[in-house]
């Protein structure tokens, strides 16, 4: 095969300039937790200062595994005054939204996503406060941005109530969960979240990360951040496996799931494996009516970043073909260190039609954007 593997094959900047794109994974952040005090009941302000948020790992502040860069951020993404990356709208506009011609940006507030905080009332209060903060500080200030409904996902009734509260508000594009939950996300205890999302007409975004209590691998805790990052792909395969076999897709045909930042090249093999085991799955779970791959093909979308990089770049095209050109949605992960530059991130040449689907049309269809 005559394929060079040495240099990326960039999409011309000028082509991007003429093509407005949708970025399905942008991370806003408060500069400090005090920034959300205006939307938080006074009792929780003091509580946070006294105790902090108790999570399912040991570090009082910061992540369980030290990140590759401070806060996992791009080193050039710190706004003037050394404010936290993602905390300054004007800087984000100048560094990312304007030059990359972002027509629609989906905000995924994950540092922190309060859904995994142990104290149930604190978790719910913080989710509500962050949702109000996203409207006040982001979506009303830049019409290109839409927020995600943060929910206390370990308390599905409270999560459903928060979704109902936001239903009909065009500031919100999706419901947001993290992938590492206390139990696999297909399990029935989480179904009220899916019912509420369907009621609100919102897809459910599942962003990699979180600490649900189970070790990061099914063989226990690994040693390194690089393994945590690797493990997100495995974890999200387990999430989809659970959602298929538990019958969440069968029970809720209107449920639409978007996996965010977990890679995508693993998807075809997972679908083949599920179908190969269809005989035993069906015998054990007779409620399932269709081949597992059909649920995945019709109810799941994947964001592209971080894109797997085959040694022979053309192999990526096979994978994208097998997943389906209508299933993949571009994302940058701004302002994090492993950000994907829309002009450089695809290591293969894409046709004009493929580009418009990946960079815009698929997300437009999923989010109902104009």
């Amino acid at each position: 095969m005559n394929v060079s593997t040495s240099q990326p094959m960039p999409i011309a900047r000028e082509m991007l300039a003429s093509m407005a794109i949708i970025d399905c994974d942008i991370h806003p952040a408060p500069n400090a937790i005090k920034d959300i005090h205006p939307w938080l009941e006074p009792r929780w302000r003091g509580h946070l200062e006294t105790f902090g948020p108790l999570r399912r790992h040991g570090c009082l502040t910061g992540p369980a595994y030290p990140k590759g860069t401070p806060g996992a951020n791009r080193r050039d993404a710190w706004p003037p005054g050394h404010r936290r990356p993602g905390s300054d709208l004007a800087f984000m506009q100048a560094q990312h939204l304007d030059p990359n011609n972002v027509q629609l940006g989906i905000l995924n507030m994950i540092s922190p996503h309060p859904g995994g905080i142990q104290n149930p009332d604190l978790s719910a209060a913080l989710c509500t406060a962050f949702n109000d903060w996203q409207i006040a500080e982001w979506t009303t200030k830049d019409a290109r941005l839409r927020a995600s409904v943060l929910v206390p996902y370990e308390q599905p009734a409270a999560a459903a109530a928060e979704i109902d509260r936001r239903a009909g508000d065009a500031s919100f594009a999706q419901v947001l969960l993290l992938s590492r939950t206390a139990e696999p996300l297909g399990q029935r205890r989480y179904w009220p979240i899916y019912e509420a999302a369907i009621r609100a007409g919102l897809p459910v975004g599942i962003h990699a990360f979180g600490y649900g209590g189970a070790p990061l691998t099914s063989a226990g805790w690994p040693s390194f951040y690089i393994e945590e990052m690797l493990g997100h792909a495995a974890c999200c395969q387990s999430v989809l496996t659970s959602m298929v076999i538990e019958g969440a897709f069968e029970r809720f045909p209107a449920l639409r799931v978007i996996l965010i930042e977990s890679g995508f090249a693993w998807m075809p093999s997972l679908a083949w494996r599920l179908d190969k085991n269809w005989r035993s799955i069906r015998e054990e779970v007779p409620a399932l009516k269709r081949l597992p791959s059909e649920y995945l093909r019709q109810q799941v979308w994947l964001t592209t970043q971080p894109i797997e990089e085959p040694e022979v770049r053309a192999h990526l095209l096979d994978i994208m073909e097998w997943i389906g050109w209508d299933r993949l949605m571009f994302a940058t992960d701004y302002p994090h260190w492993d950000y994907d530059d829309p002009a450089r991130c695809f290591p293969v040449r894409l046709s004009a039609d493929q580009q418009s689907r990946l960079f815009r049309d698929n997300a437009r269809a999923v989010f109902g954007a104009n």
């Binding site: 099914s218 226990g220 495995a234 075809p268 035993s280 799955i281 054990e284 990089e309």
Partner: protein, 353 residues
């Protein structure tokens, strides 16, 4: 089929805990009887589940002699197999007592040598070890290694800790010393939830999750520097599903480029290290539905040297009589069926006196 195939994964079953009594010290026999401990069968393969048996194999109802007879006719004769490696799965990894686990592992290996290998010259076996205590496991490897019919060391893909951890290195040191690959087989000690987000509800769900466990274990073995520390160690992934491999290597190598400062001893690209040190058994092969997809996938794998023929007998991984997934390149068959196994397991090349 090319005659003389080497089947790298078959599963003769221990008829029951009592079969180990002749090989157990009296103290354990007495304890088992006093405690009414009758069995240590793992949840991984409920004996009546749809995956457990190929149609026509009934070994659970027979004596060991009947089981061996069935194995000869259904697995060895039927497929023209010259050698087959027995991976005996039993609850060694499940128990929490290090001493009990080591005692059962040792008895298992004695049972394997005397009741299987002595009775059928085409059989070889993996050394069963109790990873709960790697020091004792290394001693057991030393003890068994003299018997050249033991060709690898058997571990499970879901244990107490990721396999790259230094805790396990005494096992790898002993294995490397004796030219024994580490065989990592599907299955769990059930000491951790069997998915990275907790316990699943269904057996079939847990089985699908074996492939994800293999992905993270490959990451652990590479990132912890096992292949740097043990440069001649080979690892064989057994019953892994196979087709997840290319995507997983692309991801591992990409993150290594970005985060290698965290693991400076990994001084070569992970995909390269894995290609050199790791092999995978053939069945189950999670194949794509269309022939042209399999052709593309074969290019993604990029080598005829990854795969070692296996049937996973008597587990039901394929329908019909042929254990070869349709569509594999004919030119690769000699390697898959024979040559790759001979290159991976030095002891398979030796004549057994």
């Amino acid at each position: 089929m090319i005659p003389g195939a080497i089947d790298c994964d078959i599963h003769p079953a221990l008829p029951g805990l009592k079969a180990l009594y002749p090989y157990l010290p009296e103290i354990w026999r007495d304890l088992f009887q006093d405690q009414a401990m009758h069995e240590l069968v793992s949840n991984s393969y409920p004996p009546a589940s749809p995956l457990a048996f190929r149609p026509g194999s009934q070994r659970s109802h027979g004596s060991l002699a009947a089981q061996l007879e069935e194995l000869r006719s259904q697995a060895l004769d039927a497929w023209g197999t010259r050698l087959a490696i027995c991976n005996c799965l039993y609850g060694v990894q499940l128990v929490f007592s290090e001493d009990l686990a080591a005692a059962i592992a040792r008895a298992m290996n004695e049972w394997i040598a005397k009741e299987l290998l002595d009775h059928e010259p085409r059989l070889r076996a993996s050394i069963v070890v109790a990873p709960q205590n790697p020091g004792l496991a290394a001693e057991e490897i030393e003890r068994c290694a003299e018997d050249r019919r033991f060709v690898q060391v058997l571990m499970l893909v879901m244990g107490d800790m990721p396999l790259g951890r230094r805790f396990y290195w005494p096992i790898y040191a002993a294995a490397e010393r004796h030219g024994l690959p580490i065989g990592v087989h599907a299955g769990s000690s059930y000491h951790n939830p069997t998915t990275p987000t907790g316990w699943p509800s269904y057996h079939s769900e847990e089985y699908v999750n074996q492939a994800q466990a293999f992905q993270t274990q490959l990451g652990s073995l590479v990132c912890e520097g096992v292949f740097k520390k043990f440069p001649s160690l080979r690892v064989v992934l057994i019953e892994s599903g196979v087709t997840w491999l290319p995507a997983s290597l692309w991801r591992l190598t990409k993150f290594w480029r970005g985060l290698r400062r965290e693991v400076p001893w990994v001084d070569r690209a992970p995909a390269e290290l894995v290609r050199e040190h790791v092999r995978l058994t053939l069945q189950p092969f999670d194949a794509p539905p269309r022939a042209e997809q399999l052709e593309r996938l074969w290019e993604h794998l990029g080598s005829d040297e990854w795969l070692l023929f296996s049937t996973d007998y008597p587990h039901r991984q394929f329908d019909g009589d042929s254990p070869l997934p349709p569509g594999l390149p004919p030119a690769a068959m000699q390697k898959i069926l024979i040559d790759n196994a001979r290159a991976t397991y030095p002891r398979l090349v030796e004549a057994i006196p």
